[in-house]
Structure formats: C-alpha cells, structure tokens
Symmetry: C2
Subunit: 438 residues, 2 copies
Amino acid sequence: MEPIDQQAAEEKRSGKIEESKGNTGISRRDVLKLAGAGGLGLLLGSMGIDGLLKGTPLGSNFAEAAKDTVPFYGEHQAGIATPAQNFICFASFDLSTTSLGDVQQLFREWTGASAMMCSGRPVGDETGNSAHPPVDTGEAVGLHTSNTTITFGVGPSLFDARLGLAAKRPAELADLPAFGGDNLRSEWCGGDIGVQVCADDLQVAFHAVRNLTRIARGTAVLRWTQEGFQRTSTAAATVSDTPRNLLGFKDGTANLDTKDGALMQEFVWTQPADGPAWLAGGSYMAVRRIRMRIEVWDRSTLGDQQATFGRYRDSGAPLGGNKEMDALPLEAKGENGQPVIPMNAHVRLAHSEGKEKMLRRSFSYSSGIDRQTGQLDAGLLFVSYQRSLVKQFIPIQQRLARQDKLNEYISHVGSAVFACFPGVREGGGYIGQALFEG
Amino acid sequence: MEPIDQQAAEEKRSGKIEESKGNTGISRRDVLKLAGAGGLGLLLGSMGIDGLLKGTPLGSNFAEAAKDTVPFYGEHQAGIATPAQNFICFASFDLSTTSLGDVQQLFREWTGASAMMCSGRPVGDETGNSAHPPVDTGEAVGLHTSNTTITFGVGPSLFDARLGLAAKRPAELADLPAFGGDNLRSEWCGGDIGVQVCADDLQVAFHAVRNLTRIARGTAVLRWTQEGFQRTSTAAATVSDTPRNLLGFKDGTANLDTKDGALMQEFVWTQPADGPAWLAGGSYMAVRRIRMRIEVWDRSTLGDQQATFGRYRDSGAPLGGNKEMDALPLEAKGENGQPVIPMNAHVRLAHSEGKEKMLRRSFSYSSGIDRQTGQLDAGLLFVSYQRSLVKQFIPIQQRLARQDKLNEYISHVGSAVFACFPGVREGGGYIGQALFEG
C-alpha cells in the first residue's frame, strides 16, 4: 500500500468524528455514551472528561435510546417472547473445532459482543488503531440500536462425538421426521449452532451476523444464512396490524400472546421438570424455509385462496366470521350443508382442537429467482418457539403435511431445529455455560 | 376445493374490511380514497357516496399521503433524480415474444399499473370476485406508499432482430467492454428490459416487482433480480447522513446534487442533441453487482482500509482533510514526501480530474452465503445514471479497474446497462411509446 502519514491522520481523525443522527436524534454512539459501561461514573472513567465533553448532551435522549433497545440480559434470551422486529438475519453455523474449550471461548466472546451490539455499541474499541484491523466492522456506526436481539441455540449435531456432549442431548432434540411433501435441500438444513438476529434495520442485523461470524473464525463457519422481512410501514401496535405474508393473507392472527406469562410457561419455556437442567428457561426453535409457488397462487381464484387459508383475504376474518380475531366457526355449515371452513383449510388444521400451540416468529423472504424454474425464490422463513417439539411442532406439522390445502402452493425446502438456551444475567456468565461447563 | 357459501362470504367481507394504519395514520387504501382518480369529484363518481362514507375522513391525512408519495408521471421518470429510498428490488426481464405489439401492450399495462402502485393503490379492482384470481396480489394492502418509484429501461439486446428495432438503437447502448478483474457470471448480467423498483418498505417494493412480473406473463420473463438495502434507522436529510457500505465506509459523499438542475442536465439527462429522439430526457443506467470480499477486508488494518478508500472511516473526511464534504487534497504530501491520498486510492481514481461525473444510486446487498466458498455473498448493487456511458461510466470504470486499490477486496460479478426512457405526463401515453411506436 502507499504510505500515508499515519500520525497526522490519527490526530486529524480523532478530533472530528462526524456522525449522523436519525429521526429521534439518537445514534448508536450516543447510546454508547449514555448507556455504556453501566452508568455515568464508569463512563467518565472509561472515556475521560474529554470524550464526554465532545459527546451529546445527556438527558432527554436516554429514554429514546431505551425505547429502541431490548435488554440482552435476563431470565430468558431476547428474541423469543419480545416483540418481532421488521427484519431477520438467520445464521446457522457448523463447528470447525473439536475442542470444547474453543466452543466455551466462542460463546464467552459471543455473549460479550452480543450484549454490546444489543445496546447499540460496536463490538470493540471504536477509536481504532491504524496498525490493526478494526475490532468492529463499522457499517452500523451512527445507526440506531433498532431493537436488536440475538438468540442462540444448538442443533442435534452438536451432541455427536466431537465435543463429548452426547450425554447432555435432550431426548427430543433430533432432526425433524420427514413430512409428506418435504422437498428439503441440504444447503438450507441443519447446523451445529443457530443464531437468530432480528432488528428494525436490516443493515444493523447484517452487522451483527457478520461480526459474530468474524469472531467465530477458527471455531465455527457459516453453514447457511437467510434474510427475511416484514412490512415496515405500519406499526405493530394494534391487533388489526397483523402482517401479511407473500400470498397476501394476514399471517399470525391466532399467535400466542407473549404478554401472557402463564401461556409462555405452558407453551414456550422449557420447564425444569422437562429436563435437561441446562435448558430450563430456554425453548426449542424450529426453522423451516418454505418456498411459496407464487406464480401458481396468483393464478388461483380469490375464492380458492380464501378456502385454502379458511380466512377472508381483506379482513383476515375466518370464513363465516366477522372480524380478524373472531373464533373459528369450525362447526358452521353453509346452505349446501358443507363446512363454511373447509375440512382441509389451513386454519382448521393448524388449530385442530386448540391443544398444540406454539409461538410463531416468521418472516417473508425474497432471494432472487430460482435458476431451475426462473420463478421468484420467495416465501416464508418460518420460525417457531415451543416448549416441546414432540408435543407441539411435530404433530401440527404432521397434520398440515397430510391434509393442508395450502400444500398445493408451498414447498418446505429447508429445516433445522435448535435448543435455545435460557438467558443469562449481566455478570452471570455466558450463554450456554451450563451446557458447556455444567 | 371444498365448497363455501360464496354469497354469504362476499357480503360479510365487503362490510368489514379491517385495515391497519401506521405511525402516520395513513394507509395505501387511504391514499386510494384521497388521491385516487384525480380528485374528490371523480372520487365520488367512481366510489359512490357509500364508499366515501365508509372511508377515512378527508383533510389532514392528505398532506401525509403526499409526503409519502413520489409522483410517477412527469418530465423524467422517478427513481433517478428523486431521493434514494431505503430498499431496491431490481428486476431484469427477457422478452418471450417477438411481437412488437405485445411489447407495446406490456408497457401500456406496466405504465398504468406502476402509476397506481406509486400512488399507493393496488394494480386493479381491490373488491375482488371470488370466482376470479385477484388482480392485485394483496401483500401491500394496508401498507404505506413508501415513496415507491418504478423506473424502466431497455437493454442492448432489445434491439436485435426480434422486434425490428435495430435502427433505433443508440450507438452507445451496448454491453459494457470487459474491464480488468471482471468476474462476471451470466446469471447476473444483461436483460432486454431493466426495472428498478425502490421503496422505503421492502415488502412494498417486492409487491411491485411481483405484480409487474405477473402482468408480463406471456410477454417477458424474469432474467435476474436482486434486492438491496440501505440503513433505515437514520434520516437522509443532512449531508453527514451519507450511508455506509458494507466495508464500513461512507459511500456517496461526492455524489451529484440532484437538486441542481443544471448538473442534472449536464451529467444525467440525455439531451435532444445526443439522440435518439425517443431517449431525450431519459438517462443511461449502469448496474453492477459488486461482491465484497468481506472476510479479507475484515483482516486488513484500519490504516490499510483508509488508504484504500482515501478517506477516514469514522468521519468520512478525505485523508488530510477535516470534514466529510472537504475537497480532496490531491496534491498534499505527507512528511515522507508521499501523497496523503495514495495514488491508487479509490477516491482519487474515481475523482480523477473531476470531469466525469455520474449520479450513483447504489444499495448494499446480502444474499446468503456463496456455496463455493462458504463466505457471505454480500456487497454493493451499484447503480448509476449518466447522460453517456461512453463519456462517463466507462472511462471511470476503466481507471478503477486498472489501478484501484479497492480491487483487492471487490469482484464485479454482474453487469447490465439500460437506456431509461424519459417520463410521461398523466394522460400523455405510456412509458417507451416513442420508441415502440415512434
């Protein structure tokens, strides 16, 4: 490289860091300054009065920063029962080490880096040193925290002979059984470790996956990734604001209410009695990459589409119902004596007797075109969390795979399951510690 | 399919369309009601008083709707000199017909549908009829207009023997020459027709590409598509708010000021004297899919990264400068007698003597991982508009291809050029008419 006057450059740079602020007037670096290092005292200690004086006035911005931040530390990992953001970058990793110590170190570092990124901070010293690679890759500088959550789980393959953890595998953490109509491709399946990154800014989510990948160098490598989105131009505050999937229908109407703690305990969080101990307070994640045959769907009639879902497209109300949130009139018959909600309608089969519930946290995806068919490679990155795969996800999916009229229009091309760890408290160790060191 | 009581369903549905509204309290359907059909008189005429009564109160929302809308009709196509949105869905199409009449009809329909989507309306009658496929695919119902722009161009291949338009090809509309270091793959290159859809909501942008694709059935098929993004969590209102690319550097600092009409005429809009007549008021678009070798970049030092771009990472200021918008100190030398901005720095070569300017309108992309290397398939969907490819894009890119230090970290994998039509006035015909019928 051409030599540059490093010292002069450093001096110039340090005095004039410009930075952008968004609608709320608060940026990631503000958050660092305001919320970092545990309080103002520590802040002064770590930055020096000089840094503080150059900073943003303290005070009014703090509440806004908090509004834009989901706490990383806590009883449960964030990104499960916390509100769904607008974007997902899902990453599946395979280990490239057989050393349990390496994996412990990886999760130790990932925990620290994730805590920083989820509070809007770069993963390392931002002031930089020209002679070293930057610790943080920089593309999220000046961006909001964007409610970033990072959620870690481990797949069945982690418990093979490599790390000596076979005895700790939960009995039900196994590759999903084959479902009728599955069209799985290995490049969208499995993984030793699954990481769900969600944020309200796609660039911020990308930044997290990239930096986690970088930290993993030598210990784990990416196996597959998938970006996904929801609509970003409406707020998710009201019940009628259920997002629409790429088939044009509201998706998630009957989802579990994450504010209902009892429901979460019953259907989402693994209980101590369920075993193993390292997973208590965690959850099983199922991920399915579901390709939608959009071009075929678009040629079907509105009546057929509505009969397929069992809901009206515009209102989201169940057929025979009035409003989106109405109970399903499963027994209602039309004038012709047939059920108003067809026997093979998606909502009927997904609901069944209402016993098997799971928390869905899905996103649409669009990944260019399928080279084989020339059609859009778009659909749903289905993500669900449940206390038990065997009692919840599997029986529901078996029912859907057998009968769901929607199967004419979709194809499951990817599949993975992960046991997601419970959360950790700040200063209380690292994510996964009870498994790796317990 | 299972029979459903169609009549009852229709009645129920029509009376109770629920719809979501976002932060601004205005939705696509509001826009339809408020801005549709040319004004309140026509609105009443087409909807009936009944429709109006069911609608949203007129008045205060109108300004908000307009704020979220970029006019489709005008002297120039929107999406070129209009402000860049947060997302792009770029689509390249190949004709599947040899009939010029088919192509005329396609652009006639595309023009009408685009005008509707860019004003927040569905592409067709939204009330639907159960016995027919919905005219609009529905996934943007309830979403904001999101500043959607749709910009059409035609590639060199359109002027081959099929349509009989060879004599109308502008001399400089040809595939780009091979540049040193090009690593082009056919699946990301070329196309008879290029359509740039941009919006502040990715789902809204996807909706547009999908519906345009659907309208094209029988006449044109997708050749390639690519989604892209910018950060969404800062506003683009101030100069210091230049977005960062995935190498962590501010990108677009020295871009043309689109508010400067004289600059636009000189560097962006094709002039009548340039010929051909059908292109006057249009612009040439260059699209390059530039893969970034992110993992290699991340191992290079900050000093090396800054020398590569010729700018400081944090502030975006040129090396030896103070602020992002400072002029490049191209003559400045450091204590060692070497240029402060290295001779092979990206900014120096892109700037050269400052004569060749173009309007860049690029987005980052992240498309999973590269199967061959296991590394992130991420980078820049470079898009530029210029009055002349031969005088602007090509000499700049030749200079960069030869010397740019950035070439160590990037690889051009896709390439296409399109001649983008001038705009049309409302009621003044369809996009491309002067080419197809002139």
